[in-house]
């Protein structure tokens, strides 16, 4: 290698920037296996709401922590199956649409349940193009009894019995991020969840960002890139698109809304009224934000900048 700037690979490619409406229309179809990942951090509610607006049906939704967005998608009738590992309202309590579906079959919902490690392992296998992933887990528990897809394998070297979980290769994974360039080279900081593995496991990837940046910004700090543009199909620019979840360095989690969800979702009528007002009756994320005056002042992050590093050689 010479010290010359990488001119050839720096040639601008076609922009992948599209509207949320177009991204969902093109990459999320009825019956698809859909992942909206993000562990508390960077959960793309804007994409979930657009899926509800476009009335997708029979989706297989996969997510470690279903969170409020899955409660909303279930209540809107978008899903036939949920694959998950912890279905609650983090720090608050229950997901009531999920509970109505599982406890009372209203509406019917198929579930396939793992632990967090099991879900992480499924994405890892999918991303690495392996048929399964072994883990030392589930012994003495009821999880393999209630989920027959949790299997046992024998280590060919030691004879140890290990659990195995099957690869998960979604049709589409949607990842919210702080920033990306127009090709989808995506940088995330703060909690990283399982977004990298989910994106690499997926046939298609939609990246939704707080900020669209020039490729030179990415190249200046390549260690911060979690998802390379080569696996990204669409880039959507949607500031505040993760609300009521949060984006480190941009805005805090709206805990008041997570607490309020307990009462909104406990009653099916009030949940439907919520969806009608905040999802179906608005055109897009800008319309949603217009219904939340003062939100951006209340939740905007205070700066805690880090010092850059020297990438020289």
């Amino acid at each position: 290698m010479t010290g010359a700037a990488p001119v050839a690979s720096g040639m601008p490619k076609a922009s992948k920037v599209v509207s949320m409406r177009d991204a969902i229309a093109r990459f999320v179809h009825d019956g698809d296996t859909v992942v909206i990942e993000g562990f508390t951090h960077l959960i793309c509610f804007a994409a979930g709401h657009e899926i509800i607006r476009q009335k997708r049906r029979d989706l297989v939704l996969c997510r470690l922590t279903p969170d409020l967005i899955i409660d909303q998608l279930l209540a809107a009738g978008c899903a036939r199956k949920l694959v998950f590992s912890w279905a609650g309202n983090p720090g608050v309590g229950s997901l009531h649409a999920f509970r109505r579906a599982v406890e009372a079959g209203n509406p019917p919902l198929e579930i396939e349940e793992y632990s967090h490690f099991g879900m992480v392992a499924r994405f890892s296998a999918g991303a690495a193009h392996l048929p399964f992933w072994p883990l030392r887990d589930y012994k003495g528990t009821d999880l393999p009894d209630s989920n027959p897809r949790i299997a046992q394998v024998t280590c060919p070297y030691t004879g140890e019995q290990l659990a195995a979980v099957p690869a998960l290769n979604p049709d589409v994974t949607i990842v919210h991020a702080q920033r990306a360039d127009a090709e989808g080279n995506t940088q995330i900081w703060g909690l990283l969840g399982v977004q990298k593995e989910a994106a690499f496991a997926s046939k298609h990837v939609i990246v939704v960002v707080e900020e669209l940046v020039d490729t030179s910004v990415v190249r200046a700090d390549p260690n911060r890139t979690l998802i390379p543009g080569m696996i990204v199909d669409a880039v959507v620019v949607e500031p505040w698109g993760a609300h009521p979840s949060y984006a480190q360095g941009h805005y805090d989690r709206d805990n008041d809304f997570y607490v309020a969800w307990e009462n909104i979702s406990r009653d099916e009528g009030s949940l439907q009224a919520y969806l009608e007002t905040y999802v179906m009756s608005v055109e897009d994320r800008a319309g949603y934000l217009a219904l939340h005056p003062g939100l951006t002042d209340r939740l905007a992050a205070r700066a805690r900048m880090c010092e850059g590093v020297n990438y020289g050689y």
Binding site: P90, V120, S146, L191
Partner: protein, 247 residues
């Protein structure tokens, strides 16, 4: 209960912090006798120093100022399955005599009376942490002889001991309750009453457990919370009673 749980943690230990009261107990320990406690959250924060009480285990305050932030694959594969976690701290809706924990369903799995959130990372914390400590308020409902569903393995389950199952960690060594402390028997892993809070009788505990609880010959007396521990909990760590409600 939170104070007693916090005292279980030794300074410098590496602790995997679960959701709810464990979160508060670990942050209290760090503010009192264990400032060098290393808090690891399944969300990916390692060596977290939260400047506010984390509302959830994915709170942004766990990131700011931590030692390392990494993906969940690393947390489960390298830290937990890799054997790096000394203490796992868990809660649960049901806990049985062997410390098996149910956070999945009340009733039958296929048609549950109450659907609970599920495992999260608890199944693997209970499997891999070098020891686990469970924290839960006493009631016969919460302490049945056998849980409806084993989400996180205890000292014996599904007909075999932990050792027979080949689980790496030592399992639940203690259950911290709001009236006393249960400790696992060295012989068969069954939980036994080992310590009482001030003013609590043996009967206060045994009547709130759904099986015939073994009682050790000599019971330890748990020291009451110090004024400083209470002040930290009520005024500094959880003034909004996020976790302390009802206690």
């Amino acid at each position: 209960m939170t104070v007693v749980a916090s005292r279980e943690l030794r300074d410098g230990e590496i602790v995997f912090v679960g959701i709810g009261l464990p979160n508060l107990a670990c942050n209290l320990a760090r503010a009192t006798h264990a400032p060098a406690l290393v808090l690891i959250y399944e969300s990916g924060a390692v060596g977290a120093l939260p400047e506010r009480l984390p509302v959830s285990i994915g709170d942004p305050s766990l990131v700011t100022g931590s030692l390392m932030v990494t993906g969940m694959a690393d947390i489960f594969q390298l830290f937990l399955q890799g054997g790096r976690i000394e203490v796992g701290f868990l809660g649960g809706a049901q806990i049985d005599k062997y410390g098996n924990i149910n956070t999945t369903v009340v009733g039958d799995y296929a048609k549950p009376k109450v659907r609970l959130p599920g495992s999260g990372g608890a199944a693997e914390i209970a499997t891999h942490a070098q020891r686990t400590v469970i924290i839960s308020r006493l009631s016969t409902r919460a302490f049945p002889e056998a849980v409806d569903y084993i989400t996180s393995p205890g000292n014996r389950g599904k007909g075999k001991s932990r050792r027979e199952w080949g689980m790496p960690g030592a399992g639940p060594v203690k259950v911290i309750t709001d009236r006393g402390v249960l400790c696992a028997s060295d012989v068969d892993g069954e939980m036994e009453l080992a310590a009482l809070y001030p003013g609590v009788t043996t009967e206060d505990v045994t009547s709130r457990v759904g099986w015939k609880l073994r009682v050790r010959d000599s019971l330890e007396a748990v020291a009451p919370p110090s004024a400083e521990e209470l002040r930290l909990l009520r005024e500094v760590l959880d003034p909004g009673k996020l976790y302390l409600k009802g206690s």
